[in-house]
């Protein structure tokens, strides 16, 4: 279903979507965005690659030679890692004497950039991001294979 135009546009657009998704992820605490939105967006970008290119081409794009490669093997552990990270951030706060999923925050001075806001909620959000991205990709790949 792919034409040259679609392929070219995809190549140009996908990195852009990923960058936007990441910026949404990082600005989430203060501006619109967050782990969930960024996660779905990233998944959408990769899904776009799936649709426009074939799985084989996709593998080639990422420098994977093995044709029988199935990304699921990577996504399922990623889902687990995401959940573990989200739970872990909560356990960490318990370990530090706060209650479960209680986050701390502050500002930090980074050279060249200046004052930056930080929060441990970002770790939790990263877990959300990973879980959402990988779960959606699992669904898309499984359904797409049919």
């Amino acid at each position: 279903m792919s034409t040259v135009v679609a392929r070219s546009v995809t190549k140009a657009v996908v990195p852009l979507i990923v960058v936007v998704a990441l910026s949404f992820f990082f600005q989430g605490h203060n501006l619109p965005g967050g782990g969930f939105i960024a996660g779905v967006m990233t998944a959408a970008a990769i899904a776009l690659v799936y649709i426009i290119f074939d799985f084989e081409d996709f593998s080639y794009l990422f420098g994977i030679e093995n044709k029988t490669y199935r990304a699921i093997r990577e996504y399922i552990p990623l889902t687990g890692a995401g959940l573990a990270l989200a739970v872990g951030s909560g356990v960490l706060s318990v370990g530090l004497g706060a209650s479960f999923l209680d986050h701390s925050f502050g500002t930090i001075h980074i050279p060249l950039i200046g004052e930056a806001h930080w929060t441990t909620a970002l770790i939790f959000d990263l877990g959300v991001y990973m879980t959402v991205t990988s779960s959606i990709l699992v669904v898309i790949e499984v359904v797409g294979e049919e």
Binding site: N30, L31, P32, G34, T79, G90, H103, A121, S134, V139
Partner: protein, 795 residues
């Protein structure tokens, strides 16, 4: 040294250290906490150790289990004569604390559970030697001991309930020990349904009691003394008494909930001895004793417990006489004795409770021992049918002596300890009857009748040891006879010095009744008191009955075979009906078609939701105003909806539906909700992609749909839509911005440093919700994977 020896040495040294630590701690102040925690945790930790290291420990698990019981026993001994409360925060917002209460009663039961436990593990060592699934067996048995000890020390109702249910679960696992035998599975299912079902009644009773008295702490209820009046002011007293009574009756095998106990004999004999005679079935009794000080004055209390207890005592004794196997006889006899104990708690006089407590001790000792004796017979002779056994004393004189001694105590023959507690029951019954008069004279009459049958079945039990020798048998293993021998010695000790045991164990447990009881002491009757006369009648009638044992058995069988008297038949009938009902429901609800599921979900959520709104009161006044852009967006949405209805292919309907989705996101934009816009947009995109992927797999579009189904679907979706409309109206009716919104907006920056309040709520304030949602997403991904992959496997 190989690993096994090494591990065992390590375990032993750890245990000795804990024992010394706990006994040292007991002399220091503040030791209460250590002792209670040791008593409860030692078995649980051992259970975990056995579960993990069973392959290394093998049969030494029995020894380690026994040692953990010993630690708990020593810890409980160090608590004799002490009272106190140990409390840990758990769920403070719901009044639930991990609170333990030490007093005479809890120490009494704690000693019983751990003491019998030590002997049962020793007995299991040899008994289970050639058994299967020993890892499961020892893990569950130690976990049971821990939860039983935890149960008796619990002071919080919810904590008590948790331990209570945990004992049921351990019992379930142990009854189905022979997990490939159908009888074992049926028996464990029955016990679970009865004990957990009645446990639910108990939970309801606890919640009613807790909300009426505004506390879930038993100590607080005991100390302020207002619990009953608080309960009475709500008018729930009878309900609470009945619910707690059902819970106790289920656990303590009172009629008609006794049906699970005889079936539970499918479990290996040490389990029957431990759970189903000495400890777990006493949990109900413990509960009643505990609550007698709180609810004992209630009118329903005496009536309920006396009826329950005495009818159980009588009917179960009859069933015991009619039984054909050793363990079956002992099971019915246990139910009968529990009936005696429950009746004792129901008597308004202090003597009743004294009877119960003393009999709990006597019964635990002789019945646990008798089960062990029956187990040895079953294990060594290979049968437990009365018709196939006789004259065992020729080969096993020691076992015969132990069995006879314990049986005579069970029969209530003087001078054995069982005689004293039976005498006390008679005294309580006579006392109550002579005070109240009238119909209550039935109490002493039934007590005597029940005791006559107890006498008969006790002698029936030992008939296997006497008479003509039926078979040649090899010697009883020493390891196995040790435990019943210790229990026989204990029986002799209690018989010889009953008042010593009473003053150390029973009287402290009676403290709660201090205002009515002056401390119990028992003596051999010297003159013809009414109670002694009743004893003489019992023994006389019993001896007469024994002479005509065959006739009595036949009559008893005839009576107990009556359908009306057999709750078992009702149980199986109910089970069949439930099966039938669920089979019928499944074809209706779980048709395997997605639209059936959708219909049911929509109907149920609509009905329950509408019911909730009806209860919430009338719909608040509202007016709909819309700006021009919003009106345009809504108009486009409406157009797209009508277009979906007319569309001729899946592709076009999916596309048009996504127009609707994008309109919604524009609508959010107009309402200044950028986060929602973003979410709606990306989700809309994703669902479009997934839709397109499955599109060519869907059945053809132009399939004819019957008019009836169209009508049904239209009605259901219209009602569901109305329900969503109502939800929006109700939830936005509160004055805006609401208090919740104010709180979150006010605390977002100060509480978490984030400027985007939506995101702060997601990751910080309501982080746990998000965690749950993310888990659901992960599960959904896995479920899709499974559905697609498993389908391939099946084909």
């Amino acid at each position: 040294m190989n690993f096994k020896t090494c591990l065992i040495t390590l375990a032993l040294s750890l245990y000795t250290q804990t024992v010394t630590a706990s006994s040292n701690a007991s002399v220091q102040t503040g030791s209460l906490e250590t002792a209670v925690l040791t008593a409860i945790l030692a078995p649980f930790l051992t259970s975990a150790v056995i579960a993990v290291f069973y392959t290394r420990l093998e049969d030494y698990s029995a020894i380690i289990g026994s040692l953990s019981g010993l630690i708990s026993f020593i810890a409980a001994i160090s608590l004799i004569g002490k009272t106190g409360v140990v409390s840990y925060l758990w769920i403070p917002s719901m009044n639930i604390a991990a609170q333990f209460y030490v007093d005479g009663l809890s120490v009494f039961f704690g000693l019983l559970a751990s003491g019998i436990g030590v002997l049962v593990f020793l007995y299991s060592w040899k008994y289970m030697e050639h058994g299967e699934w020993k890892r499961k067996y020892y893990t569950a048995l130690t976990a049971f001991m821990g939860s039983m000890i935890g149960l008796v020390f619990s002071s919080n109702l919810i904590l008590l309930f948790l331990f209570w249910e945990f004992t049921s679960i351990c019992s379930f696992v142990l009854i189905s020990h022979h997990q490939r035998k159908r009888a074992g599975i049926m028996a464990s299912k029955k016990s679970l349904l009865v004990t957990v079902g009645s446990g639910l009644a108990l939970l309801l009773g606890f919640i009613l009691l807790g909300s009426a008295t505004d506390t879930y702490s038993i100590v607080e209820m005991l100390s302020d003394g207002q619990a009953l009046s608080a309960l009475e002011s709500t008018g729930l007293t009878t309900a609470v008494v009945a619910l707690i009574g059902i819970g106790a009756a289920g656990k303590s095998a009172q009629i008609p909930l006794h049906i699970w106990l005889p079936d539970a004999m499918e479990a290996p004999t040490p389990v029957s001895s431990f759970l189903h005679s000495a400890t777990m079935v006493k949990a109900g009794v413990f509960l009643l004793l505990r609550f007698r000080s709180i609810l004992g004055e209630a009118v329903a209390w005496n009536f309920l417990l006396l009826t329950l207890g005495l009818s159980t005592m009588f009917i179960a004794a009859l069933l015991a006489v009619a039984s054909t196997e050793l363990k079956q006889l002992l099971a019915y006899s246990t139910a009968s004795h529990l009936g005696l104990i429950v009746a004792g708690i129901g008597f308004p006089t202090a003597v009743g409770v004294e009877t119960s407590l003393f009999h709990v001790l006597n019964h635990a000792v002789f019945k646990a021992g008798l089960f062990m004796v029956a187990g040895i017979v079953l294990h060594e002779a290979g049968t437990q049918k009365f018709s196939e056994l006789s004259g065992l004393r020729h080969d096993w004189p020691g076992l015969a002596a132990i069995g006879t001694l314990l049986s005579l105590s069970m029969a209530g023959i003087p001078p054995f300890n069982g005689f004293y507690s039976k005498e006390l029951l008679f005294e309580a019954a006579y006392h109550t009857a002579s005070h109240t008069g009238g119909i209550t004279w039935i109490l002493p009459a039934i007590s005597v009748l029940g005791s006559v049958f107890t006498f008969i079945y006790s002698l029936k039990f030992i008939s296997v040891f006497y008479g003509r020798k039926s078979q040649d048998l090899h010697d009883v293993p020493r390891k196995m006879i040790l435990s019943p021998a210790i229990l026989a010695v204990t029986t002799i000790a209690i018989t010889a010095t009953p008042n010593q045991f009473i003053s150390v164990l029973v009287n402290p447990a009676l403290e709660l009744l201090a205002h009515t009881s002056h401390g119990l002491s028992v003596h051999m009757p010297k003159n013809l008191k009414p109670a002694f006369v009743m004893s003489l009648i019992t023994i006389g009638l019993g001896s007469f009955g024994i002479g005509y044992l065959n006739v009595v058995e036949r009559k008893a069988k005839k009576i107990t075979a009556l359908t009306a008297l057999s709750p078992n038949k009702y149980y199986f009938k109910a089970l069949d009906k439930a099966d039938e009902l669920s089979n019928r429901m499944i074809t209706k609800v779980e048709s395997g078609l997605l639209r059936t599921y959708a219909v049911w979900v929509l109907i149920i959520s609509t009905v329950t939701g509408t019911a909730g709104y009806l209860l919430a009161g009338p719909l608040p006044a509202f007016q709909i105003t819309a700006t021009l852009p919003a009106a345009v967006v809504l108009a486009v949405s409406l157009v797209s909806v009508s277009a979906v209805l007319r569309s001729q292919s899946y592709t076009s309907s999916v596309m048009i539906l996504s127009i609707l989705g994008f309109m919604v996101s524009i609508f959010y934009l107009l309402l200044d909700a950028p986060d929602l816009v973003l979410t709606q947009l990306v989700v809309e995109t994703m669902s479009l992609i997934v839709f397109l992927l499955v599109l060519n797999k869907l059945p053809s579009f132009d399939k004819e749909i019957s008019f009836d189904r169209k009508k049904r679907d239209t009605i259901i979706s219209a009602i569901a839509g109305l329900m969503v409309f109502l939800s929006v109206m109700y939830s936005t009716a509160e004055e805006t911005p609401s208090k919740v919104a104010d709180y979150f907006i006010g605390h977002a920056v100060s509480g978490s440093g984030g400027g985007n309040v939506v995101n702060v709520i997601l990751v910080d304030f309501r982080g746990l919700d998000t965690l749950g949602e993310v888990s659901v997403i992960a599960m959904a991904g896995l479920a899709v994977l499974m559905l697609f992959k498993m389908r391939g496997v099946e084909q």
